[in-house]
């Protein structure tokens, strides 16, 4: 039996092409049935995400199966030109799947969402009886590979966006974020996204303050917070645990001199300041104050970069682990009838 992988991803196809080949959940059953009607195919799993559309199939005659699949995919997508589809043989298909589930083939190396997406795709195929013994074994092993790679290496280490770094740091300062209070100064897009991430982690109150009050009120309404006038933000400051600044002010709005007396009323509670503004809103010396942790856009991006560097440095180790697992799967495949390498 041969395992084949056909498809395209963000590396070889732009979004305009990928969206034509994408298989929505509403058309999955029908597409799986159509794939299984292709001559020589014994089973199929369709993985369709925003970054890739891939068909994993089991077949006794790969050449005919590839031809049939190519025709089907082009017809289904209404694609007249030759699409940049890749066709992997057994060894490359197995390796490819193991790399995909481990996050090595993802746009952001080591991201974990893909594992859930592959699991979902496999479950959907199992539900309609589209898988075969070989595909079942392959996918179950791939899930074990993903778990092994993640637990034994630092491929998922750190976070890879400014917003998630800020949320992680808040966790390292406060621990449980339940009941913590956030203040947003300046209703920018990144600050809004960061605040939303914090709310999803249990932050209780979000106070929004902007020079244009209407904009603050609108954002507060959207994220379930409360708006205050920009002139009054210091009055609400004593209760705040996390301050996100992203105003369009031409200079510093929070100085060490201003903050030092306010810190005395906080009874030792730490203050996490995320300064996303350019030019910066907060004087850098504020970080020297006891209990104040100031991160500007550069320091957050530096952490993102460090995390990505660590992940990249782990790729070789992951590949080694995957090679061992590919060999193990191929040995299993050889012991089963109708195997053709």
């Amino acid at each position: 039996m041969n395992i084949l992988c056909t498809g395209l991803n963000y590396k070889n196809s732009p979004l305009e092409v990928r969206e034509k080949f994408a298989v929505g959940s509403h058309e999955l059953e029908e597409t799986l049935a159509a794939v299984r009607r292709v001559e020589g195919l014994a089973g199929a799993v369709i993985l369709s995400t925003c970054n890739r559309v891939e068909f994993y199939t089991a077949s006794l005659c790969p050449v005919r199966a590839f031809e049939g699949l190519r025709e089907l995919l082009h017809t289904r997508a209404g694609f007249t030109a030759e699409a940049p589809l890749y066709f992997h043989d057994t060894t490359r298909s197995v390796r490819h799947l193991f790399r995909v589930v481990s996050g090595l083939d993802s746009m952001v190396i080591g991201e974990t969402e893909i594992l859930g997406q592959v699991k979902k795709a496999y479950s959907a195929a199992v539900e309609v009886g589209a898988t075969s013994l070989h595909l079942n074994k392959l996918f179950q092993q791939s899930f074990r590979v993903a778990k092994h790679v993640r637990s034994e290496t630092r491929i998922t280490r750190g976070t890879t966006s400014v917003g998630s770094v800020a949320v992680d740091l808040a966790g390292k300062i406060f621990g449980d974020l339940t009941g913590k209070r956030v203040m947003i100064l300046g209703a920018g897009e990144t600050s809004e996204r960061t605040a939303r991430s914090l709310v999803s982690r249990g932050v209780r109150t979000v106070i929004v303050s902007n020079r244009t009050f209407e904009r603050a009120a609108k954002l507060a309404e959207e994220i379930g917070g409360l708006a205050i006038h920009f002139d009054h933000w210091q009055n609400a400051f004593a209760e705040v645990d996390i301050l996100i600044c992203s105003t369009a002010a031409p200079g510093i709005i929070l100085t060490e001199e201003k903050l030092a007396p306010l810190m005395k009323n906080r009874e030792g509670r730490p203050l996490f300041i995320i300064d996303l503004a350019v030019p910066r809103d907060v004087e850098s010396s504020v970080n020297e104050l006891e209990g104040v942790y100031l991160y500007d856009i550069d320091s957050l991006e530096e952490i993102v970069r460090q995390s990505l560097d660590v992940r990249r440095s782990e790729v070789a180790r992951c590949e080694k682990m995957i090679s061992v697992q590919v060999k193990s799967f191929l040995s299993w495949l050889q012991t089963h009838p109708n195997f053709r390498p």
Partner: protein, 261 residues
Amino acid sequence: MDRLLLIAATLCFLASCAYTLYALGAGRFRPGRINFGVILAGFFFQTTFLYLRGQAEGSCPLNSLFDILVFQSWALVLIYLIVGPAYRLSLLGAFTAPFAFGLMLMAFLLPGTQNPVPRAVINPWVEFHAALSLIAYGAFGLACVAGIMYLLQERQLKNHKASTLLYNLPPINDLAVANRRLVWFGFALLTIAFAAGFLSRGPVNSVKFWAAGLIWCFYAAYLILGRLHTLAPRRLAELSVILFILALLTLPAMQYFSSRP
């Protein structure tokens, strides 16, 4: 036999330190049961040693500086084993093991006899006072460990370093809370130990009395300053480290003056 038990305990703590250093260095540290298991094994060996030592001395095994250092190491591990699972602070065990190991090593390297020293007169209140005082010091020791972890984590956060340590150390807020609670716990035990000392009605050496009283006063000051928020959590963490070092330094003097009314 008893010496072998001590060596086994020391090796367990050393293994825990080595494993943590290796895992952190390789960036593969994962909080798990390995450290806890190894420290538990070390504790088992220490407990067996102290039991046999107590049998040989006919009293609580606190009759020489060697005894005291071993008992202090045991008390530190005891508090960790009680508190550790409740607080679930990642790396607390990893930071406790070097302290336990250091105290054991000091006991081994100590000049003079390491043989059992039977006590002539045994007063249960004195036994209780001495043992509980050292268990209180164990709590102060663990507060010191939490304080060191706080200072390290704070440094990572202030310097914007996304190191392995940052990801594995607990949140500073949790460390600050653990630091304060452990000092409270140790202070309560020390106060009870002092009360037991007074109830013994035995002769008290004035140097020992004032040294112990000063330690008690310092920890009381820590708690008051913390309660009034006069000192920031960072300063409290630093203070807990300094006070524990001070308390450890007074141990030889306390032992020396215990037998000199």
